[in-house]
C-alpha cells in the first residue's frame, strides 16, 4: 500500500516557547520534540515518504530532524522532504493548510496517483497505529477519514474541529473553532484521504480563495453534502498541547505511569535525535522523587514532581518542584523554583526564587539568566 505523510509544523503558538521555533520543534517529555510523535507514528506504519510543511522559524526543526536518519527516512527513494514556504502570488505566506498544500502540489502529486496521504499536525501528541487508521479509511470507502478523541470536549476547551455522531455512527454535526459541549468528538488533527481526491479538493478550493482545512474543506463538504466523512475514534492517551497551560499540565502528566507507558509504549517506540550524554547522576545529598528525566543531568538538590531534559544541573540546596526544565539549565545553590518552565540554556542564580501558578507557569525564555 503506497502511502505518504505530510506533517504541519507550525500550528498554533505556545507563547514564549515558540518565539524562535515551530510548535513541532518545541521540546517535550525530557528527550523529545513534539514532532517526534507524528514522525514516529508515520514511520512505524511503514510510511517512507514524509513531507514537512513549515511556515516560519524552522531552523531548530531542520536541525532536529536533519536527513531523518533517526526515523529511518534517510532513503534513496522517497524519504524526508522539507516543504519550506515561498511567497505565493496572491499572498505573503500561507493563510491555511490548503494553501500550503497547494504550494506543495509537486510533492503531493509525485508518484502513483492511487496512493493515500496521511495529514498530521504536531501539537496533539499520541502513539497511534496509523495502519489501523488507514485500514479503517479504506474499509469505509469514504472520501476523508478524521481521527478523533472522545472525552476532550467539555464546553470550555475550544476545539479546532468538533464532530457529533448519531446513534448509527454517522456524522450528525460538525463545528469549527467551537467550545463544544460534552458528547462531541475532538479532532486529533490527523486526516487520511487519497492523494488524488486531496489534490482535486485543494485545486478547487484555492481557485475559489478558500484555504482553511477544517472550515472550508471539512465543514464545507459536509454542509454541501459533497463529500463523505469517516470518523475514527482513538482509544489511547492523547495530549493536546495547544496552550502553555496545556503544555505544562501535559508534560507533568508524564509522571503518571499509565500515561507515560501509554504514550511511549502503546504501539511503537518514539524515536528522536540522539545526543550522546552520560546517564543522569544523583549526588550524595540529592532528593529526587516523582520525576521524569533524560540523560546527562546532575542532581544535587531536591527535585519533585518535575520533568527535566538533557544536561540539567541542579546544585545542592536548590529546590525544584512542579517544573519543566529544558536542556542545559543550571539551577544554582539555594534557588527555589515552583510552577516554572525554563526553556533551553537558562541559568538560575544561587538563591533566586521563581514561583508561578499551575495555570500560569513562569516561563523563562531560551538563554535567560535569572
Amino acid at each position: 500500500m503506497k502511502v505518504m505523510g505530510i506533517i504541519f509544523a507550525n500550528d498554533g503558538s505556545l507563547e514564549g516557547l515558540t518565539t524562535h521555533r515551530t510548535t513541532a520543534s518545541v521540546p517535550f517529555g525530557g528527550r523529545y520534540r513534539q514532532v517526534d510523535f507524528a514522525l514516529s507514528n508515520l514511520t512505524a506504519a511503514g510510511v517512507r515518504q514524509v513531507g514537512i510543511i513549515s511556515r516560519h522559524h524552522y531552523q531548530s526543526l531542520i536541525n532536529h530532524i536533519g536527513a531523518g536518519e533517526e526515523w529511518g527516512l534517510e532513503l534513496e527513494e522517497g524519504g524526508l522532504e522539507f516543504l519550506t514556504p515561498y511567497a505565493m502570488s496572491a499572498t505573503d505566506s500561507y493563510r491555511g493548510k490548503l494553501e500550503s498544500l497547494y504550494a506543495a502540489m509537486t510533492f503531493l502529486t509525485y508518484g502513483t496517483e492511487d496512493a493515500y496521504v496521511i495529514l498530521t499536525g504536531s501539537t496533539i501528541l499520541c502513539n497511534i497505529n496509523m495502519k489501523d487508521v488507514l485500514a479503517s479509511h479504506i474499509a469505509s470507502g469514504k472520501d476523508i477519514t478524521i481521527v478523533t478523541k472522545a472525552g476532550v470536549a467539555n464546553g470550555k476547551k475550544q476545539l479546532d474541529l468538533a464532530i457529533k455522531l448519531d446513534k448509527k455512527g454517522e456524522v450528525a454535526d460538525i463545528a469549527v473553532d467551537y467550545a463544544a459541549p460534552e458528547g462531541y468528538l475532538a479532532t486529533m488533527d490527523i486526516f487520511v484521504t487519497s492523494k488524488k481526491w486531496l489534490a482535486e479538493q485543494v485545486r478547487e478550493h484555492i481557485a475559489r480563495n478558500l484555504f482553511h482545512m477544517d472550515r472550508d474543506l471539512v465543514l464545507g463538504l459536509w454542509q454541501k453534502s459533497e463529500g463523505s466523512i469517516n470518523v475514527y475514534q482513538f482509544p489511547g492517551v492523547v495530549l493536546y498541547n495547544e496552550s502553555v497551560a496545556e503544555y505544562f499540565h501535559n508534560t507533568l502528566a508524564l509522571i503518571d505511569t499509565k500515561t507515560r507507558h501509554d504514550l511511549f509504549g502503546y504501539n511503537h517506540p518514539v524515536y528522536t535525535r540522539v545526543r550522546d550524554r552520560v546517564p543522569t547522576f544523583y549526588g550524595e545529598n540529592s532528593e529526587a522523587t516523582d520525576i521524569v528525566l533524560a540523560d546527562g543531568c546532575m542532581i544535587g538538590g531536591k527535585v519533585t514532581n518535575s520533568v527535566l531534559f538533557r544536561n540539567v544541573t541542579v546544585y545542592p540546596g536548590a529546590e525544584v518542584s512542579d517544573c519543566v526544565i529544558m536542556n542545559d539549565a543550571v539551577i544554582g545553590e539555594g534557588a527555589e523554583l515552583k510552577y516554572v518552565i525554563l526553556d533551553k540554556d537558562v541559568t538560575v542564580r544561587p538563591g533566586a526564587k521563581l514561583i508561578g501558578t499551575p495555570d500560569n507557569p513562569v516561563i523563562i525564555t531560551r538563554g535567560g539568566l535569572v
Binding site: Y271, P279, Y282, D295
Partner: protein
C-alpha cells in the same frame, strides 16, 4: 573502487572470549559487555579513535560475534559510516592458500587482514585491544612515534613494583626507547607496563607479520613474537607514557571497580564529555527515566528508559531497568533491561543483561572492603526466583 589514502588507521582486536568474566561472557564477546549504564566496553576504544581523528577502524571479531556485530552495525553511532570512513568488522575467513582459518593469535589476526589495511595505503597503524576502559588521544601518541622516528611505539603506564610481574614490562633507556621486553617478569627491572596499545610503521609491521607467519614455532602474538623480533632486528621501539585513567576490565572484580569509579561528584573516571572526550554509544529508542514518589536514589547513575520505585545507593542502573517498590540496590552494577521485583535486595553484585530478581529475593551481601572479591553475578537472562538467596560471590 576508490579508497582514500589514510595517514593512520586503527585495528581493534575484539575477538577474545574474556573467560575471566565468566558467566558475563558466556554468550557475548568481551568488548560487547555493558559498562557505565549505557555503554559497552568497545565504545571506549572506538570513541577514542573518532576523538583522535582516526576514521578508519578494522574490528577483528571471532568469539561469539553476533551481539558485537549487531552493536557495531555500520558504525553510525560513532560517525564511522561516511563516504571515506568505516568501522569494518573483520571476521576470520577461508582462503585458497589455506593460510587462514581461525585467528591463531593477535598478530595472525592482523596478518589475515593485510589486504584490508593495504586498501588505505597507511603510513601508521594503531593496534588496540577491545577490553579496556580509558580515554586517550591516539593522535598524540602517533605524533610522539613520528617525532622519535620509531618503528613501533607502545603505550605504557606505571604500575607498582609488586603489580609489575603480572604485566608485559618495557625496560627502557632514559630517552624512553625500549631495550628489552619481558612478559610477566618474576624480577621486574621496570614498572612500565604495556597497555596493549601499539603504533606501527605499516611497512615495518607488514614485513614482520609476513615473516612471523612463516615461522612454525611462533604463537603469532604481538607481545610474545612481534615486539621481541623487532627489538632483535634492531628497530627503534619507544615507550609512550600514559598517566590517565586506564582499567583492564578483564575480571569480575575490575569490571565492578571500573563501574564504581564513574560515580561520585568528582569521579575517579569522568565519563562526561569535554572537548574531544565524548564517549559515543549506540542509543536505543527508550523514553526518559522515571523516579517514583517513594523512590530514594543517592550517589548513582540511572540511565534512560529505567523506572525506579525503590532505593538505589552507590550503583549503576543501566538503560531500560525496573527497580520495584521497596527493593534495595546498593554497591551494584545493574546491566541493561534488568528487572528487580518489589522487596528484593541486591548488594555488591553485577546483574547481567535482562536478568531478573524475583520478589523479596536476596542477591549478595553488604559490601566489605576485605571481601571485595565476593561479588554476586547473574548471567544474561538469569532469574533469581522469588524469596530465594544468591550468596555473596555466587554466580547464576
Amino acid at each position: 573502487m576508490y579508497f582514500q589514502k589514510k595517514r593512520c588507521i586503527a585495528m581493534l582486536l575484539a575477538g577474545g572470549q574474556g573467560s575471566r568474566l565468566k558467566v558475563l561472557t558466556e554468550n557475548t564477546a568481551k568488548p560487547a559487555v555493558p559498562f557505565g549504564g549505557k555503554y559497552r566496553i568497545i565504545d571506549f576504544p572506538l570513541s577514542n579513535c573518532v576523538n583522535s581523528g582516526i576514521d578508519t577502524v578494522g574490528i577483528l571479531t571471532q568469539y561469539q560475534p553476533l551481539e558485537l556485530n549487531e552493536y557495531i552495525g555500520n558504525g553510525q553511532p560513532w560517525g564511522l559510516n561516511k563516504t571515506h570512513s568505516c568501522a569494518q568488522v573483520l571476521p576470520p575467513y577461508e582462503r585458497h592458500d589455506k593460510k587462514s582459518g581461525w585467528y591463531k593469535g593477535t598478530a595472525n589476526a592482523i596478518y589475515q587482514n593485510i589486504d584490508f589495511i593495504e586498501r588505505f595505503d597507511p603510513e601508521y597503524v594503531v593496534v588496540l585491544g577491545g577490553d579496556h576502559i580509558y580515554k586517550m588521544d591516539y593522535s598524540a601518541m602517533v605524533d610522539y612515534h613520528v617525532k622519535n622516528g620509531a618503528s613501533c611505539t607502545i603505550a605504557v603506564r606505571n604500575v607498582s613494583l609488586e603489580e609489575a610481574s603480572r604485566f608485559g614490562i618495557m625496560n627502557t633507556n632514559p630517552d624512553n626507547s625500549v631495550y628489552e621486553f619481558e612478559e610477566k617478569p618474576a624480577q621486574p627491572k621496570s614498572t612500565k607496563a604495556s597497555m596493549g596499545i601499539y603504533v606501527f610503521d605499516w611497512k615495518v609491521l607488514r614485513e614482520f607479520l609476513i615473516a612471523d607467519e612463516e615461522d612454525p614455532n611462533s604463537s603469532n602474538d604481538f607481545g610474545k613474537n612481534i615486539i621481541p623480533n623487532l627489538l632483535n632486528a634492531g628497530h627503534k621501539l619507544m615507550a609512550y607514557e600514559f598517566d590517565g585513567y586506564w582499567m583492564d576490565v578483564g575480571t569480575i572484580q575490575s569490571l565492578w571497580e571500573a563501574n564504581m569509579d564513574v560515580l561520585g561528584k568528582d569521579p575517579v573516571f569522568d565519563l562526561r564529555g569535554g572537548k574531544n572526550a565524548t564517549i559515543y554509544a549506540r542509543n536505543n529508542a527508550l523514553p526518559s527515566s522515571y523516579i517514583d514518589k517513594d523512590a530514594k536514589v543517592v550517589n548513582c547513575f540511572i540511565a534512560e528508559g529505567s523506572e525506579v520505585y525503590g532505593t538505589v545507593r552507590h550503583s549503576i542502573i543501566s538503560i531500560g531497568c525496573t527497580i520495584g517498590e521497596n527493593a534495595i540496590v546498593e554497591d551494584s552494577v545493574v546491566m541493561p533491561g534488568v528487572v528487580i521485583e518489589p522487596g528484593a535486595i541486591v548488594r555488591h553484585a553485577i546483574l547481567g543483561e535482562n536478568s531478573r530478581v524475583g520478589c523479596n529475593a536476596i542477591v549478595g551481601g553488604a559490601f566489605k572492603p576485605k571481601d571485595k572479591k565476593k561479588i554476586s553475578v547473574t548471567s544474561k537472562g538469569a532469574v533469581v526466583e522469588a524469596n530465594t538467596v544468591l550468596l555473596p560471590g555466587d554466580m547464576l
